[in-house]
């Protein structure tokens, strides 16, 4: 009772939400600690009761890198702008791995937490958001391996790495979150997403210059691939870390614009569906 008298309770207005006001970023700010807790929980629980634990964050990209090296370098002998194929592919596999994990976890996040969605109020955006952020921990661990690889193959990064790499990472996160927002909201009503996701990611992988070099493509193909925001991310990572490619050019800006469009449209689609999540999930 004494506690109650101390502070004036906040007043909440509940009404059918419409238009821009529906974004409700204020509530997202109030619940910011929940994002932290959800990420923390995901990271803590992810490798519980596994023999290898956190090592999986390393094994997954390293194994993919070895397979790619065998198929695309030793067998197909693709051109890699003069970089050792191991480093060349691993540099791209890092942001790609982050993207795929974010996509998988993010698009399932609402359905996976349906008991939260049907019982309590909180900004639903938190669920796909925290799934995407949780992938950053794996990314950081695998990044250490990349640094080791770069030392081993004596690749010296340029100084622009320091300020551009975080920006490309941000681009990867914005893209992943944008797609996750769309897919998670659709998944609430149509579980088709679960079935489509495996081959969508596979298709997407080959539409992104992860295994091959962007510079070997024809100009038309380059423009077409830039419509895929992950192209901008992968090229950016290679430019920042390995010094290949052109750095910020038209292709990159196309990727950035597409990524932002996906993100903003995803945000609004998510919010417009949010009011019926609890009813349809």
């Amino acid at each position: 009772m004494t506690e109650l008298a101390k502070h004036e309770p906040t007043t909440i207005y509940i009404k059918p939400s419409k238009g821009l006001a529906a974004l409700n970023l204020r509530d997202l700010w109030i619940y910011r600690e929940l994002v932290f807790f959800m990420v923390w929980r995901d990271v803590k629980v992810k490798y519980k009761q596994t023999l290898l634990g956190m090592a999986w964050a390393v094994i997954q990209p390293v194994m993919t890198m070895l397979v790619f090296t065998f198929v695309f370098d030793r067998v197909a002998k693709l051109s890699t702008d003069g970089i050792q194929y191991e480093v060349f592919s691993f540099t791209a596999l890092l942001p790609w791995g982050l993207f795929v994990t974010a996509l998988n976890q993010g698009s399932r996040s609402l359905v996976a937490h349906n008991n939260m969605v049907t019982k309590i109020y909180f900004p639903r955006l938190i669920l796909p958001m925290s799934s995407v952020f949780a992938g950053l921990v794996d990314f950081a661990i695998a990044f250490v391996i990349l640094i080791a690889l770069m030392f081993y193959y004596q690749v010296t990064p340029a100084w622009h790495l320091l300020w551009t790499l975080p920006l490309f990472l941000l681009l990867a996160i914005v893209t992943a979150l944008g797609v996750a927002l769309w897919l998670s909201a659709i998944n609430v009503k149509y579980r088709d997403v679960n079935h489509a996701l495996p081959f969508v990611t596979q298709f997407w992988l080959f539409a992104t210059p992860v295994a091959y070099s962007f510079s070997t493509l024809s100009e038309n193909l380059q423009i077409a691939l830039s419509l895929n925001p992950m192209t901008g991310v992968v090229n950016g990572f290679r430019w920042a870390l390995l010094g290949t490619g052109n750095g910020p050019d038209l292709a990159l800006w196309i990727s950035v614009i597409i990524s932002v469009l996906i993100f903003i449209s995803g945000l609004f689609y998510f919010r417009s569906m949010e009011k019926t999540f609890a009813d349809t999930i």
């Binding site: 009772m1 007043t11 909440i12 929940l34 929980r41 009761q49 019982k119 309590i120 009813d279």
Partner: protein, 429 residues
Amino acid sequence: MTIAISVKQLGKKYQIGAAETKFRYNMLRDVLVDTVYAPVRLAKALIGKSDRRSNKNFVWALKDISFDLEEGRVLGIVGRNGAGKSTLLKILSRVTEPTEGTVTVRGRVGSLLEVGTGFHPELTGRENIYMNGAILGMKRTEIDKKFDEMVEFSEVAQFIDTPVKRYSSGMYLRLAFAVAAHLEPEILVVDEVLAVGDAEFQRKCLGKMNDVAQQGRTVLFVSHNMSAILRLTQEALVLKKGQLIKRAPTPEAVDFYLASGQTESGERVWEADEIPDASAPFRPIRLQLKDRSGKVVDTVRSTEPVSAEWEYQLDAPVTGLRVGLYLNTMRGEYVFTAFDTDDAKQYEQFGTRPAGRYISCCQIPADFFNEGRYSLGVNASSFGVRRYFMDESALSFNVDISGAPGTQWPEVRQGPIRPRLDWKIEKID
């Protein structure tokens, strides 16, 4: 007096029926046709048009509800299943959005429904307290401050750093409840109908609700249990089919509710609009629970037999019909399922039932029920052919155990049945 909750012209529309038309793959042909039409469905979904059929099937779970509630009052909400009670609470706790109207709520809304939401079995008790607290909207500093109190309340201090998957279900529930109970919302909503857990847990919920009310906070309480409503609330709303039909001091509201014949007092009558078209030619009329003297009762004595009578109409002859009952506890566990043609001879005799009015009646023996509340569901189907009608909770009733075995000890007996077993005690040495 300040107004804690102000509800104006609130309405909530649900779409129904969409799910039913989706998965009815009886034959390979259906699967193939369904596959061929998949691109058409996808195209329709993308442009925001769903099935024609489902578009028309709307139901207003709530319509035109308006009321104000002053701070510090305890308000009861009564009404039959489907009257909109739970929908109202869901809107107030912002789980779902209204279709129309507004609600103004002064302060944080908590409900004991959220108990244990977000608990992860791999996390320790300590970690889950923080996780669950954050989900319920507590700040970390707030959780820090109340942490010791919560641990003490939960009585699991010794295991606080053990993953909760190693907890017994009782410990798990106590810990979950401890967090929810320390949320200290300005407004507490309690939906007893949905509250799961054992009798002990439900008692704890009601106790907590009482404490909250004593502290001068606002409480909304939904229950089917009229004595709890009478005991705990001062005022009550009566909802019927999504509409607010009465607001009055509790004794008056309960009288009104009981007298208006929409109570589940040992009888369930189906009105025309409650029977889906798909159930034809089967038409349920009424289900009654009768005691030894043939009186309709809503409280059954455990020491006496009780009979369940289901009256229904067949508008056309039906072959292979079986009409039966499910008995459930309020926690949703099945106690039994039985049909009127379970007996092979009976099944032969009633292979085809001609059109007409029927009563299928059975007797549940004495010394069967344990203490508490049960629900009776009904089902009419032809095995492997069709299900005509089903209602998983057609009526619910209480059991009075006075005189039942073991009542000399005032304790809660586990399990849904309380048989009188033939014990023998022998001294063998």
